[in-house]
């Protein structure tokens, strides 16, 4: 090793040691960007698994699903989950444009979650005053977690799929502190339900 190389090695060693000594201060001052920020919204069946979801439903029978939210936004989050119910002709959220369903919500949940925290809620639901007239099924009441909701929905017979289909779905909204309002996060989950009559 010649003198020039040795000098360079000495300076680099000094800089390396200097960085090690400075690292506690740098760790306080420099905020490294976290991982990908996202939120989760899920719906599980009655056995707490992604299976056995209610599908063929009867009047006055109680069905159960589990709704969950996960916060991976790297920060405290204020979420709202809107519960909505639609027939086949009514609007769903538009995942492409990121717009929510135009339908009004039946119920809502306000959820505060710190980073990496999850929330889960058992959703029990049943239908009351269901009638079938020709190719139309009229549903007057939907009971969700004890709330009796007058929905007055009509599901028309689906020739192709053979059923009276409706959808119970959930939209997740997040409070945006910049604009001081809730914004639809383009997250929604739902289950299709086929209204069936008692034989």
């Amino acid at each position: 090793m010649n003198f020039g190389d040795f000098k360079l090695f000495y300076i680099l060693s000094y800089l390396g040691l200097g960085l090690i000594i400075l690292s506690p201060t740098l760790a306080i001052v420099i905020k490294l960007p976290g991982g990908e920020r996202f939120s989760e919204l899920w719906l599980l069946g009655p056995s707490h698994m992604a299976e056995d979801y209610p599908f063929n439903v009867l009047e006055n029978e109680v069905y159960k699903v589990y709704l969950g939210i996960g916060n991976r936004m790297g920060d405290l989050g204020y979420f709202k989950v809107y519960v909505k119910f639609r027939n086949q002709t009514e609007s769903l959220p538009d995942a492409f444009n990121g717009t929510p369903s135009a339908l009004g919500s039946l119920l809502e949940y306000c959820v505060f979650l710190s980073d990496s925290e999850t929330w889960e809620k058992e959703i029990s639901f049943s239908f009351e005053e269901v009638s079938f007239e020709g190719n139309v099924c009229k549903i007057s009441k939907l009971v969700i977690n004890g709330y009796v909701l007058n929905i007055d929905k009509a599901a028309v017979w689906d020739e192709e799929n053979h059923g009276f289909y409706c959808q119970l779905f959930f939209e997740s909204w997040l409070y945006n502190t910049t604009v001081s309002t809730f914004r639809f996060q383009n997250r929604f989950v739902g289950i299709w339900l086929n209204m069936t009559g008692n034989v």
Binding site: I21, I28, D75, L107, C110, S114, Y175
Partner: protein, 166 residues
Amino acid sequence: MVKHKSVVCFVVFILTFSGFIDTCFAADKAAADEALTDAENDLASAFVAVEDAEQVGANTSEMLAKLKFAGNLLADAYNAHRLGDYDNACSYAMNCSDSVNRIASEAAGLKLEAEKAYSERLFETAAVSSAGLSVLLILSLFGWRFLKRRHFKRILGMKPEVGKTG
């Protein structure tokens, strides 16, 4: 007679102050709407304050629990409102506002404490790092002088070799 007067006074007292205890008694839609708007704003303000405090490293777990409780009340208020139950909607909304009314100030206090703690920690760490760097600089200068001197001494002490030519 005195006994009767006492009973009447007691009844009047109860009737007077019961109005203050529950101002939402027999609320109409407008009152419920107003209470909901207030509760929504109060909860949002509390959330922003807690989030600010959390971002500077304050321990907000206690306040987060309060926010969750208030959030449930607000959801109950909205759900009761949707069902046309304005009394309960109003009552839940007011309870929500009450439960978060001190959170913003508490969070602001915690934020100040956390910022102060951060500044102190930064100052202490920076002071230790500066002292360490200074010591390293002095040692390395002395070390460099020592190594340089040793290197030249070694070179000057070398004997020239006489090569043979064929």
